[in-house]
């Protein structure tokens, strides 16, 4: 396990009856950018604070570079952190802000100046040394924050929703900038966000959290293509869910009855006949055909309820079967108006067994 930089081992943290982290176990590899993703209150910030030492977990241990740091105070953990609200020191110039970690480490003035200049070059803020934080734009302030976090070459870079206080366009720009800096320095980074697009674009791996627990850990592709739970599927990208039950199993396909229709999908190992299942379809993975196109397996008649023009795509709300609704996005090449009859083809349907009630 030498390539593991950070490890959460069975970490729990409660606030009264609220469980912020529920037996969280997660290993973050050296040089990887891991995103903790989840809705607000899912415990991702608590997990990050456990890592900085600002919060002490009730149970479990935290390791950085193989060393148990659970009882190591924050200032000895050799971390760099970028904050949502920038958290720059308002009474110090950019130079002093970035130089602060070096000043604390008693580096000589000359070396400080040299490393600050290097860090500012990294975030493209040369020439702003004597500015005060309030004289800078939000994006510039966050770059100062990034420079301050990286200037002493920490073992780990932590980013706590660093882009959510920036406007949309800048956010996208900064996203790539952060990714580039992190990749170039080959630093292990933990990135906390609630923005799934950000997580998919930036991360080497994503850990999706819900109610203090890990829902799924994987590469952005794995998470998007093979969500392991309804929560993950709903949280990442747009999704349709249809409920049905298995009618028959036939070799490696099974027939699922959904709203009076029969759908043939790859067999689910644990699903025998009668098993209730949840079908999951991405809106861009449904084909829209003309009503006179030939039918076949998994082709159904439907009606357009509502169309929304989104520029490069059209967003349809369709009804089919017995009271089933579906959201479909397709390119603007082939258009259907409101009330028009269409045919749907499902080339790919993912499915989970529903257990319990």
């Amino acid at each position: 396990m030498t390539d593991v930089t950070i490890e959460f081992r069975d970490v729990s943290k409660r606030y009264g009856t609220l469980v912020a982290n529920d037996h969280l176990s997660l290993a973050i590899r050296k040089g990887e950018l891991m995103t903790l993703l989840g809705p607000s209150g899912c415990g991702k910030t608590t997990a990050l604070r456990c890592l900085t030492g600002y919060i002490r977990p009730d149970e479990g241990r935290i390791f950085i570079d193989g060393q148990d740091v659970t009882d190591v105070p924050t200032h000895q953990r050799e971390l760099g952190m970028v904050f949502q609200n920038f958290a720059l020191f308002p009474h110090m110039t950019v130079q002093d802000n970035v130089g602060f970690p070096l000043m604390i480490r008693n580096l000589s003035k000359a070396e400080r100046a040299q490393r600050v200049a290097q860090a500012l070059r990294l975030v493209r803020l040369e020439g702003y040394e004597s500015h005060y934080p309030r004289q800078l734009s939000g994006g510039q302030q966050q770059r100062v924050g990034l420079a301050r976090a990286l200037v002493y070459r920490p073992k780990v870079l932590l980013l706590d929703e660093p882009l959510s206080n920036l406007d949309a366009k800048l956010r996208e720009e900064m996203r790539f900038e952060i990714k580039e800096v992190v990749t170039r320095l080959e630093i292990t980074a933990v990135y906390v966000t609630h923005d799934q697009a950000e997580a998919l674009a930036l991360s080497d791996r994503v850990a999706i959290m819900n109610r203090g627990r890990l829902e799924q850990v994987g590469t952005p592709e794995e998470i998007y293509e093979h969500p392991q739970s309804r929560f993950v599927a709903e949280f990442i990208g747009l999704s349709n869910f249809l409920e049905g039950y298995v009618q028959a199993v036939d070799g490696d396909t099974m027939v699922v009855s959904v709203g009076g229709l029969q759908m043939r999908i790859p067999v689910l190992a644990e699903a025998g006949p009668g098993q209730r299942v949840l079908l999951f379809l991405r809106p861009n993975e449904v084909e829209l055909l003309r009503p006179d196109d030939p039918g076949g397996a998994n082709v159904f008649d439907a009606r357009v309820e509502k169309v929304t023009y989104l520029g490069d795509t059209l967003d349809y709300r369709l009804t089919f079967g017995q009271g089933l609704t579906l959201r479909v996005q397709s390119d603007a090449q082939r258009r259907f108006g409101q009330g028009a009859p269409v045919r749907l083809r499902f080339p790919r349907v993912r499915c989970w067994a529903i257990t319990g009630n």
């Binding site: 200032h75 050799e78 110039t93 004289q135 301050r148 002493y152």
Partner: protein, 296 residues
């Protein structure tokens, strides 16, 4: 013609609004004149009248007070008491406010306790303090009883350090509240950033928290200082031979018969002028100290 009517309308409208403004200002103006301007004017005139006379002009009231070593001592004493009291209050406030903001168990109760001196009338508080710190008060009883090598009671009442201590008791709530509010307006993530950067709690306090709250504390302490400068009832009953300006003024009109109104007025004017000079110097200093954060 139409435009002329419109012009007139506009003219009347502005005129009317000005009249209304004036009308609404009247009570305030009357109050200002009757309660502030007229008494001030009277004091200024009186301070230049020969003592006990209704006519004539003289500088004697000023020269007598300022040339007298006792008079200059009164001025110095007033500064020592008010500056000392304020500075000590601030020094005590910072650690206490640092504890109170942490929302420790019972912090609401402690916060209330800090405010007690504001609620208790100064006079009553001072009497209580005199009893507690007196040669036969609990403080000295405790010392004599339990602390070895204390042979005789320690004098607190009617001494300079005792009086400064009473000032601290009286003005501590003000400095504590301003310090606490400066602290609470700080963004905690700034301190977190300091700690993650490798600074110990103490270094965070020294390099980040204190520089950031100092301007607020200094600005807040001006009010405390001004109040302490004009302190009257506590030094009157607990000061003994230490009489700051306000008490000295009162002495001029209460002890001699007939009362020396002109001397009292002159001292009052001196006090007012000193206060204004000191305030403007202090504000300039605070602005410079607060200006370390660059242009705002």
């Amino acid at each position: 013609m139409g435009t002329r009517t419109a012009d007139m309308m506009r003219f009347w409208r502005t005129h009317a609004s000005r009249l209304i403004t004036l009308f609404l200002l009247l009570p305030a103006l009357a109050g200002f004149f009757g309660l502030f301007f007229y008494p001030m004017l009277l004091t200024v005139i009186l301070s230049f009248r020969p003592e006990g006379q209704a006519i004539g002009w003289t500088l004697e009231n000023y020269t007598r007070f300022l040339a007298d070593p006792d008079g200059r001592w009164v001025i110095l004493l007033t500064f020592i008491l008010s500056l000392g009291g304020t500075a000590l209050s601030v020094l005590l406030s910072v650690p206490l406010a640092l504890i109170l903001r942490e929302k420790v168990r019972g912090h609401r109760f402690y916060r209330l306790m800090v405010l007690v001196p504001l609620v208790v009338p100064g006079l009553i508080g001072a009497l209580g303090l005199l009893l507690f710190w007196g040669t036969r008060g609990w403080f000295n009883l405790f010392l004599l009883q339990f602390v070895p090598f204390v042979q005789r009671p320690v004098a607190v009442n009617y001494t300079m350090h005792g009086l400064i201590m009473f000032y601290v008791w009286l003005y501590f709530p003000y400095t504590c509240i301003t310090t606490l509010s400066s602290l609470e307006s700080l963004d905690r993530s700034i301190e977190e950033a300091g700690e993650v950067s490798g600074a110990t709690r103490w270094q965070v306090l020294r390099h980040i928290v204190l520089p950031l709250i100092t301007p607020g504390i200094l600005a807040g302490s001006v009010l405390t200082f001004m109040a302490a400068f004009g302190a009257f009832s506590v030094p009157l009953i607990a000061g003994g031979n230490y009489r700051p300006l306000a008490v000295e003024i009162y002495k001029q009109i209460s002890v001699p018969i007939p009362a020396r109104w002109s001397a009292a007025s002159a001292i009052a004017i001196v006090m007012g002028v000193l206060q204004v000079i000191f305030l403007s110097l202090y504000m300039r200093f605070v602005r410079r100290a607060g200006g370390t954060g660059g242009p705002s």
